[in-house]
């Protein structure tokens, strides 16, 4: 496992070398701010909380995670550097972890850059710190699952655009499973236990409780297990 470190360092530094990183941080922050202040009615809600921000995270991540991960493996395959990587004395697990952790670290930094909003909330009122903490924790965990899924999609192709679209579609499905309308529809079409089971796999409903300050073990485990499952599948895909 010690060989995770050089891979992590290389990949993480790579984000700051390419303009893509800056572009997406800015786009992310801008969209977070715009969504929170306008449709989210941050000020009108008259609440010293970040709930308005958190509720847009699952939607923003839908674009951001595929953008961060699309090059992860697809680019290695296209440029042939994976031949170099996999003839170095590293295991595939180390390679997948190193790259994933770098993406996750970059992603976490981007999320934490919304910190000025916390300051704003603290300035405007006396916020309840519990939901702010769990909200960020949940966002980072949920982000991990998103990124693991996107890393899997990236390992399936040598084309970054295909990787992006594939990631986007898988995440979109996982998101929509939790929307009331979709749930109702499934309820009428499928036996209730199946519909219920499927809706368990939704990012939206899993993030709900964390947003309001709870620390539900089930939801946290869900994000972790989903992430691990996607990473393990990535390893299998790369080892063919």
């Amino acid at each position: 496992m010690q060989q995770v470190k050089p891979l992590f360092k290389r990949e993480f530094a790579g984000y700051f070398r390419s303009p893509v990183a800056y572009v997406f941080s800015v786009v992310f922050l801008a969209s977070a701010a715009i969504l929170t202040f306008f449709p989210g009615q941050f000020f009108e809600s008259n609440e010293a909380s970040l709930r308005t921000l958190f509720q847009f995270f699952p939607w923003i991540f839908l674009l951001m995670a595929p953008a961060i991960c699309m090059r992860l493996w697809a680019e290695e395959k296209r440029s042939g550097t994976w031949e170099l990587l996999f003839t170095l004395p590293l295991t595939t697990v180390e390679a997948v972890l190193g790259k994933f952790l770098a993406a996750w670290a970059f992603f976490t930094i981007a999320i934490l850059l919304t910190f000025p909003m916390v300051v704003t909330v603290a300035y405007l009122g006396t916020p309840d710190w519990g939901p702010i903490f769990t909200g960020y924790l949940g966002a980072i965990l949920m982000g991990g699952s998103y990124l693991a899924i996107c890393s899997l999609a990236s390992a399936l192709t040598r084309n970054q655009v295909i990787a992006f679209v594939l990631s986007f579609l898988i995440c979109l499905v996982l998101l929509f499973l939790g929307i009331g309308l979709v749930n109702d529809l499934m309820g009428t079409l499928l036996p209730w236990w199946l519909a219920e089971g499927i809706s368990q796999f939704s990012f939206l409903s899993r993030y709900e409780a964390l947003m309001i300050g709870l620390l539900p073990v089930g939801d946290i485990l869900f994000f972790i297990l989903l992430g691990l499952f996607a990473l393990a599948t990535t390893v299998l895909v790369l080892e063919r």
Binding site: P6, L7, R10, R17, T81, L84, T87, P89, T91
Partner: protein, 318 residues
């Protein structure tokens, strides 16, 4: 961990290696060994299966059948152990374009567990000067010319001083001076290593390799020394003798009677004498000319051109 005892200093052994891509057989029952101190030249037309064989040997792709060992470790079963022992320059030397040369070499050195950091930096320094890369050390790899990029690939392959080197067209894209330099580096390292390199340049094989393998459509056609290979040429060991003052047909008739002359032909005032076997007939031939008191205008030994032998073998219709 299973360790096979390989015969006679063999660092590499490949047995019955076969690779299928769908219905297409790219490598077909390839077997060979490489001993310490040997440089094996891998030749063959485009698409012959050279790179594929190297990819299997370095553990990048699995073989359909057959086995490969490096220093006694099985490439399939002890992949990490074998990869530690191999330095590999893949075809067209891929590298991360956004990294500088120095960063890239430090990265590879770290993955190769050259620790601690101080040793790593020292090693990278050595390699930068060995491969003439000091001038471009701070340049990102995507701005390098093809030859420099190739040298970066070579540098990362030898950074951990591996016992086994696998080089896929190491001098591809280098200018003649650099080709010479890289060949010198390879020869300099050869004593302690087993080296396989593929190339399309036949002179390179002659200058560099102690053995050559020609592979065509996945099969090994030839496995011998460059000198032996040269002897396959039909004009090998043929002498061109230009004479004066005597009727050429008369001279040819006299020569034909001699045992040492296999066949005699004429070309204007030139005699073409071919030896019956592989031994040189030079001294016998000279002595005979003296006895006969022919006045020689020229006397030249021909030797087979490697590329012509290569063409005959791999392109039978030509």
């Amino acid at each position: 961990m299973s360790k096979e005892i390989l015969p006679q200093n063999e660092l590499i052994r490949v047995g019955g290696l076969t690779k299928d891509f769908g219905p297409f057989r790219a490598v077909n029952a390839v077997s060979f060994g490489v001993r310490k101190g040997e440089i094996l030249g891998f030749l063959g037309p485009n698409g012959a299966g050279k790179s594929t064989t190297m990819k299997i040997l370095t553990g990048f792709i699995p073989a359909t059948a057959g086995e490969a060992w490096v220093e006694g470790f099985s490439v399939q079963k002890d992949s990490l152990e074998t990869r530690r022992r191999i330095g590999y320059l893949p075809e067209s030397s891929p590298a991360y374009p956004e990294m500088t040369v120095e960063e890239f070499l430090l990265f590879v050195a770290e993955c190769r567990r050259i620790n601690p950091r101080k040793n790593r930096q020292k090693r990278v320094e050595e390699i930068l000067s060995l491969c003439f890369l000091q001038d471009v050390r701070k340049q990102t790899i995507d701005t390098l010319s093809k030859g420099y990029k190739q040298r970066v690939g070579f540098a990362q392959a030898v950074i951990h001083d591996p016992p086994v080197l696998v080089l896929d067209e190491p001098t591809d894209g280098l200018d003649p001076n650099q080709k010479q330099e890289v060949r010198k580096i390879i020869t300099g390292m050869a004593k302690e290593k087993a080296i396989i390199l593929s190339t399309h340049i036949l002179e390179e094989v002659e200058a560099l390799c102690s053995r050559l393998i020609i592979i065509d459509r996945g099969k090994i056609l030839v496995d011998e020394t460059p000198a032996e290979f040269r002897q396959r040429h039909e004009q090998h060991n043929r002498f061109r003798i230009g004479i004066e003052g005597i009727e050429i047909s008369e001279a040819a008739a006299k020569l034909k009677k001699q045992d040492f002359a296999g066949s005699v032909a004429t070309e204007g005032q030139t005699l073409l004498v071919k030896a019956p076997g592989r031994e040189s007939i030079e001294s016998a031939l000279l002595k005979f000319c003296q006895q006969e008191q022919w006045s020689l205008k020229s006397f030249r030994k021909e030797s087979g051109r490697l590329d012509e032998v290569f063409r005959q073998l791999t392109n039978p219709q030509a």
